[in-house]
């Protein structure tokens, strides 16, 4: 079946603009995660959705970052008033309700100029 997909694959934006990044998880997966990866480093957790529960937003670096998940499926990560330090690869992952394994999408490379 189809894996996790993300769009766009690359995004270049000017400092101060808002951006939206999209994630389509694996069908049937109830858990969805967003991570940020800077220049070949490890991943930094941002936010976690599980079913209809309130999301775990503990990893969001500032109030410029927000995310929503509509209909328990597609998720959008929004970054308002982008800054150069927001430049990174943003990765989305999904997992089955009680599974340990997370399956990652290819990521969106965000460059803020």
């Amino acid at each position: 079946g189809a894996g996790v997909s993300q769009s766009p694959s690359n995004k270049v934006t000017e400092k101060g603009k808002d951006v939206e990044l999209r994630c389509d998880p694996i069908s049937g997966h109830t858990a969805l995660y967003w991570y940020r990866q800077s220049l070949g480093q490890g991943l930094e957790f941002l936010i976690y959705f599980q079913g209809n529960s309130a999301p775990d937003k503990s990893g969001l670096p500032s109030d410029r970052f927000s995310a929503e998940r509509t209909g328990g499926s597609v998720s959008t990560l929004t970054i308002q008033r982008t800054q150069q330090e927001d430049s990174a690869v943003y990765l989305c992952a999904s997992s089955a309700a009680r599974g340990y394994e997370q399956y990652f999408g290819p990521g969106t490379r965000l460059t803020v100029t």
Binding site: Y33, Q41, L43, Y100, Q102, P106
Partner: protein, 113 residues
């Protein structure tokens, strides 16, 4: 200081040599995973270990989870150029919400032909 420390950060070896990557923490994890990531792609899960002292083998790759579930190692025998990539360990801490993963900083492996 990262919760999960990986070492070394970079490893360059010749085809046919063996290598070991370490993942250490002062915290206990309920499970630990190893991923490999290639440029422009998301991490791909290699293995999950859940029992202290557990050893898993995947062809030429051997994964070990420490007895106290605070550390893990990945050993590659007779490395091939196709083993080149960024290796990431990631753990689920005890009582972590959902299966939120904490990632190590990664080990970049280069296997030269």
């Amino acid at each position: 200081t990262q919760l999960l420390e990986q070492s070394p950060q970079f490893l360059s070896i010749q085809e046919g040599e063996n290598l070991t990557v370490y993942c250490n923490s002062s915290s206990v994890f309920s499970s630990l995973q190893w991923y490999r990531q290639e440029p422009g792609e998301g991490p791909v899960l290699l293995v999950t270990v859940v029992t202290g002292g557990e050893v898993k083998k995947l062809k030429r790759l051997t994964f070990q989870f420490g007895d106290a579930r605070k550390d893990s190692s990945l050993h590659i025998t007779a490395a091939q150029p196709g083993d080149t990539g960024l290796y990431l360990c990631a753990g689920t801490r005890i009582k972590a919400a959902g299966n939120k993963l904490t990632f190590g900083g990664g080990t970049r492996v280069l296997v030269k032909p």
